[in-house]
Symmetry: C2
Subunit: 208 residues, 2 copies
DNA sequence: GTTAGCATGTAAGGAGTTACATGATTTT
DNA sequence: AAAATCATGTAACTCCTTACATGCTAAC
């Protein structure tokens, strides 16, 4: 998931690790960020696999011969995606199986890169996610109905709040799906126009 | 976290692993359950630590001497919490530091066992959780305000939905906190009565 | 020229998962 | 007695975190 997100970000522009971390926070839900202990090893793995390349500013060959063992090379290291990396990203982005939507984090990453995703793939991922969340909702409703009496006030509140959240997520997904379908229908009617990448008007939301 | 949840459930009644797993699902948010690959090793660790004890139905000593190496002992194994385990659970339950509310899962477990938690500890945990979630909300609002134009429709939707969820969680926590404070005030007025373990009437919620 | 904060990296470990293997009990 | 399902367990692995170690660069 992390490697997927890195490839996606580097697709947009080259970056060094520190920068990447900030952008990653936005992609991964905006709340928690990834730690360096995950980030740098991931970059190394991607580089070894040939999916990204570093524009290393101080290559060994330019250092004086007496430079000591160099436990760690320092200085900003800018990474860029390679052709192979783009290929791999295209593969990942077009996955429509459970791995694209069963896990909340992975789904978020897929959504964040929807601009690089074909319209039919977008729709399948959104529908898959909705099915997953609907199943969660149904299980929760079931469990609430069956055990309502046995539960104390706090557990009850926790489950009701969880149910409410899941319910809202289903509605949110339904809005996205409907809006995707509208776009598809519109593209059908006037196929000469470029399909709209920006939505016409988001359905509203009232709050704030 | 898993071990905390197990101790909490065994506090209520002895159970075997399979049963435990179902109850665990409810405690851990009702959606995903824990796998056996986590559960059984956890039980073993707790037993080795002396916090739980198994009522093993087929102890080695009762088997015929020719019983072969016994790669795996089978038959239901019922676990019960020990006095030491109760002590440990009481310790865990009364923790009011970040470990009780920074992680969503851990907070959920704490909440699920609020009936075993002192009123002042409950309040501190709820307030801590609210602070954590408020910080998340503020960070998200900030990020949304600053980068609104750069984001495509999908990332924007994702962040707006995330913000909405976090906002609702803050409100939910505030309701719980207010209700706790009411209870505390009521207990103050008539200290001879036992403090109410069940809420009088949940503040309402309208939806469903 | 020293402190603060930017930037990179490693080692150890935590908390879970999947895949596998097997036994015990209930249903048909 | 075969099949389904209940129940226990291990090994290997995934994916991330914390704690640590270090160097580079700008500001005072």
């Amino acid at each position: 998931m992390l490697e997927f997100a890195i490839l996606g970000l580097l697709q947009q522009s080259p970056m060094h690790g520190y920068e990447l971390r900030k952008e990653l926070a936005a992609v991964l839900g905006g709340l928690r960020s990834i730690s360096y202990g995950s980030l740098y090893p991931a970059l190394k793995r991607l580089q070894v696999a040939g999916l990204i390349a570093s524009d290393d500013p101080t290559p060994r060959s330019l250092l004086p011969a007496d430079a000591p063992a160099l436990t760690g090379r320092r200085g900003k290291v800018v990474y860029a995606i390679t052709a192979e990396g783009k290929e791999r990203f295209a593969d990942l982005v077009s996955q429509t199986g459970p791995e694209a939507y069963d896990d909340e984090g992975r789904f978020g990453v897929h959504l964040a890169f929807f601009r690089h995703t074909a319209a039919d793939v977008r729709l399948r991922i959104l529908e898959g996610r909705r099915r997953t969340v609907e199943r969660q909702r149904d299980r929760l409703m079931d469990s609430l109905r069956r055990t309502q009496e046995k539960l104390d006030r706090y557990t009850l509140e926790l489950q009701r709040h969880g149910l409410d959240s899941v319910d809202r997520e289903v509605r949110w997904l339904t809005e996205l799906i409907d809006s995707e379908r509208d776009d598809a229908a519109r593209a059908e009617q006037s196929p000469t126009q470029t399909p709209p990448a920006q939505s016409p008007t988001p359905p509203d939301d009232g709050t704030t």
